[in-house]
Each structure stands twice: as structure tokens, then as C-alpha cells.
Symmetry: C2
Subunit: 382 residues, 2 copies
Amino acid sequence: MPSEIPADSVGYVEPQIAYFNEPLPLRSGRTLDSYQLVYETYGTLNAQRSNAILICHALSGHHHAAGYHQASDKKPGWWNECIGPGKAIDTNHYFVVSLNNLGGCHGSTGPISIDPSTGEPFGPEFPIMAVRDWVKSQARLADQLGIDCWQAVVGGSLGGMQAMRWSIDYPSRLKKCVIIAAAPKLTAQNIAFNEVARQAITSDPDFHAGYYFKHQTLPRKGLALARMLGHITYLSDDSMREKFGRDLATGKLNFNYEIEFEVESYLRYQGEQFSDTFDANTYLLMTKALDYYDPAADFDHDLSQCLSKSQCKFLVLSFSTDWRFAPVRSKEIVNALLRAQKPVSYLEIDAPQGHDAFLFPIPEYVSILQKFLAHPGEPDAH
Amino acid sequence: MPSEIPADSVGYVEPQIAYFNEPLPLRSGRTLDSYQLVYETYGTLNAQRSNAILICHALSGHHHAAGYHQASDKKPGWWNECIGPGKAIDTNHYFVVSLNNLGGCHGSTGPISIDPSTGEPFGPEFPIMAVRDWVKSQARLADQLGIDCWQAVVGGSLGGMQAMRWSIDYPSRLKKCVIIAAAPKLTAQNIAFNEVARQAITSDPDFHAGYYFKHQTLPRKGLALARMLGHITYLSDDSMREKFGRDLATGKLNFNYEIEFEVESYLRYQGEQFSDTFDANTYLLMTKALDYYDPAADFDHDLSQCLSKSQCKFLVLSFSTDWRFAPVRSKEIVNALLRAQKPVSYLEIDAPQGHDAFLFPIPEYVSILQKFLAHPGEPDAH
């Protein structure tokens, strides 16, 4: 943390927990009898409860999107660049809710939680989640918070898929929908990368079919591998060239099977860091939710039809060098919305960072996000 | 094999072995005291020994490029589509030599060979190979075969890098150089994918630091993972969409951690097949040779300078959907050749197959290859 809380920061925040005892029927056919969601809020809910914005997180994200938990925090929340007083998602005007999704490993009920029916962690027995399940659980959180209608639901990547799902499943409960660096469904190549990541985890002998806690171990190597691979797909070829090029780790070539290039060293570090902080079963579950996402499948694969009941305004954003969910994938969403005669703004932002760009405070990006969320046509936006 | 040998096939072929007792000093600083190279030849060497073409193989390739070893062979050699009587590399006119590179696992000296100094397989102690080492060993094979000058050196991917290296290291020993789907050096992203593949192998507990034979095991899972990942990078997003889309493996979603999509099933099969037939240490070595390749590094990173002594004609080919070595990478080679005022023809071939396109008999591709190799300006081409 900086020595002083910056003026545009939400400052210290404390996670809260919402408990749910009504069973949640899931896409998979299974049911979660009871569960909890950990969430944070930034800004103040107005008297009409009409100024709330929901933030949906991506694959390895969580509820801590802005501010600091304590003075010793090295970094603020993951989307601190965009959430705060005067920022694109302006906490002077909005009440921002950010949660950890079900199946996560940061405080919401998930594979590392204790299954009340066994007294053991759920582990691999935790039900597989679909994006629609998350959205349903988020709607129940909105109910608990007394929020009938979100001013906006906003998300990047897998978070953008949730925002889109909100507009389909709860058309009357959001006024604006911001879908950033997302796609209407994964391609075979996207699924293939996820499958390699999953195989890396499940092939780790420390995985023990997901029951690694029982064996008092963790599939660190497999999870690190999965993260390394994921990481490559989050960056652009250009940004990796810019960041590492062919720089050598020790200043010279050593002609052995150790690290030779900086990029190898970087990736290993990223993998190791991640495997210390993330749960392997959660990683599997999140990649599966990505694979399954295909809302148009219930509408004879007509995305336009699928979005036809939506009532909100859409902002769809993509980034020029994103090859995980390339601009052409965002345009599929835009075209479907246009065919359905829905109000949609679209911008492909020129950015070298690849898929990761959605986390960077790129001026054009921040500016359009801010303008869209502060649209004067929405009387209760301020 | 078809019930009859097709008229445009080289028919039955038999691998041959060349033995070398002169020590081979390597880029790494190490030396290989003696070694053997397995190779095949197709067509007839003319009296002037001037009609020979060298085929250089890619990462997982080998010497068996055309024809059949026996009637029970399910498939012919890996480049059978382009090598044969009347084909692009026409064995009615040319004497084609195709070898397995040093460090390979198909008969040339490599990690699975017995180290004469220990009586055990070399395993991880086999020296790391650089492309220049392969080219040097190929030049010695040419010496043994009495071939002073190749009519052409031809290769795709890592094979194209060898062809390019020939023009740099032995400018007077080739008349034509065909560099297909290659790059002058790997990008950070290319290296990153290789590193993940290597980590997959070395993290497999059956790898045993490369001494898996001693432990009577094989790092099958790691090698399968490496191959799955490689395979994704050989295909284009489009070709995967075309081939698999989001087709389901069992016709319905099962919401478990087993295979859901066809593409997952295909990749697992590819990985398993490969891990039964390829050596893990060889895979590591081949990826390292790719990483190290950067001929311009010895010329102050001036690729044009690096190619300035070449005396051959060049054909550089790329494929529109290849994202492993995209057309822009081939153009780097072409631009360097043009700056060096070398004769070069370049074509980007429209092909949906991604990097793998170089193995397909795409008419435009086959046609330009054939025309380049039969150029009438070369009196001894026929």
C-alpha cells in the first residue's frame, strides 16, 4: 500500500458474508442446499436503492476488486484502476458490489469449503457451476441487499459472460450491461487450452482425483503449469516481445535444460505464485464454466433470439491484440444485439496487452466506460 | 497402405545408416565423438551427383518422408504428398535424401542410443543440439554420399530453419533453399509455449530427471500434455472450429470432469498416441533447438548481414492461418534477403490448416514448390 490512501481510492474495505439457506438448483441437475457468498461494497447505496453496480469476476478473480484490506497490502483490489471516487466506476455516485462466485476459493462456498453433510471439504464433489448458476446466486444476493435493479452489471472475460447472462435471465433487473473482452461461447481452440490446463492438474500425482486435502498435499506443479499456459493466452505476442523479447535469464546461453530466457523465468514465477494461492478444484470448475457457456444453445443457437428479451443498454468492448477472446468474438455479440434491435455501443480499443488489457487503465477504455456509466439519459445515474 | 502401390509413390523404401567417427564439435561447447544418422533416399543420384535434394524435418519428424516400409504400413512417409514420381519434389528427376536428425529417436544417435562410454542410454546426458550442429552433421552425410552441392535444401517449420542455416553456413553447397512456415527466430510467446511443454514433461514423476529408462518407466502423461499443447499451436482457430466446433463427445453435456467436447477427446488421443512413440528427452532437445535458433545473433542481430554470403535462390512460403510462425515472420526472412539483394520468391498461401498446412497437398503450394524446383534457368535440374 502507498504510505497514504490515495484520494481516488475507496480506502480500507472489509469483506462481508451473505448466507443463503434456500436450495439453489443448478444447471447440472444438482442442488446446493445452502451456501455463502463473500462480497465487498464500495460507495453508498442511495435511498431508492437504485445506484448499485455489480462487478462480475473472471476465471481467477474474487470479491476484492478495489481498496485495501490492511496497511500491509502490497496491492489494492484487482480492478482498483477503475473503481473509486471519480474513477470510471465512480463510488461518489454508485454503490458497487463485488463478490466471489460460488465454487471460488476466496470465501464463497466452493471446493475448499466444508460440506455440512460430511464434515469434510467438498473437494471434487462440489457441483460444477454454470454461468447461469452464478447469475442466479448473484440475483439472490441482490435480493438480500434489497437491490431490485442494478444500474449496471459489469464484467471482463468470464465476468463479461455473466453480465451478458444477466441481460438474458433477468432482463428487468439491470439498466446497463458492460461486456468486456468476452465471447458468446468458447471456440474449440479455447476449450482445447482449457483441457490441457485441466489435464496438467489432474495428471499431477498430488491431485489424488481431487482429494488432495485428504492426502495432505496440493497439486502445485499441475496448477502452476495450468497457470503458465493460461498466462500465455492472456498476453499478446507483441506484449511478450516488448516485455521479454529473447532476453537471457543469466546474460548468456548455458545450453542446458534449465531456464535460458527471461520469459521462462517469468512464467515459472507466475505459476508458482498462483499455485500457492489458488485451489486446483476451483480452477477446474472455473474452466468448465467457461467451456459450458453458450447461452444461444437454448435458443436454437440463435444468439439474437437469445438476447431478444433484454431491456438494458449494452456496452461491448474488445482489445485489438486480445487473441483469447479476439475483437471478432465481441462483434458476434454486437451483431446479435443489433439484429435484435437492442441499443449497443461497441469499441475495439487499441491496446498492446492482449486479453489482460481489460485490467489496465487504458485512457480510451476508462473514458468510454465512465461515459457509458454516467450517460445523462439515465436520470438516476447520479 | 493401399492394396497397390500408387503410380506416384516412391514405393517401398529401406532406411540406411551412415556412421561417423570424426568427432563433431557442437554449439554447446560439447563434442559428439561418434554417431550415426539414419536416412532414406528416393529417386536416383545422377552421374554428376548434382540432382540431390535434402529434406530437413520438423520438431517431431524423422527420416521416413515418403513411400512405405512394408505392406502393413497404415500411412506412407510424412511428406508423401510432395515427394514422388511427378510430384512437387519429383523423384523422376531428383535424388531425395531425408534423414533423422541427431538427438532424434528414430534411428539417429540421440538420447535413446547407448552411450559407448557408459553402456547405458545417453538419456538426459545427450548433448543439446543447435540447428547449426544438425546442418554440420548433414554436410558430413552429404560428404559420405559424394554430394558436393545440393540442388535444393527444403524444410518446413524447424526444417525451414535448417534450410536457412544451410544457406548461411555452407553457401556454396546448395543452389536452392526452400523455407516453409518458418521464422528467423522464436518469439517470447513461441519460447513460452515450449517452456510449458518442457515443464509438463519434467514435472511428470515418471520423468526421473530424464533417467526414466533406469526406472523402467516413461513420462507418458507429461509427453502427452506437451503434445496436446503443441498440437493446438499447429492448428488454426478456424480449422479447429471446422473440425470440432463445440461438438459433444457423448451427444450431451454430462457436467462432470470427464471429456465433454470432441476436441478434448481428439487432443487426448493425439497426446496418448504420441507418448507411445516419441522419446521425452528428444522432445526436450528439439524444443531447445527451436528456442536457440537465432542465426542473426552472430551478426549483431542483422539478419540481412547474416544472409549476405548466401549464393542460392530462395523460396519462402507461409500460410495465412499459421499463428505459430505467422506470415509476418516469413516476411522478416524475405525482407532480410531483399535487403541483402538475394533472389527470393515469396508466397503467402491461403490455407485454413494453420501451421500444419505445410504437410497438406494444397494445390497452390504444391504448384509453386514444383515450379521453383524445376526452374528452367537451372540446366542440371533435369
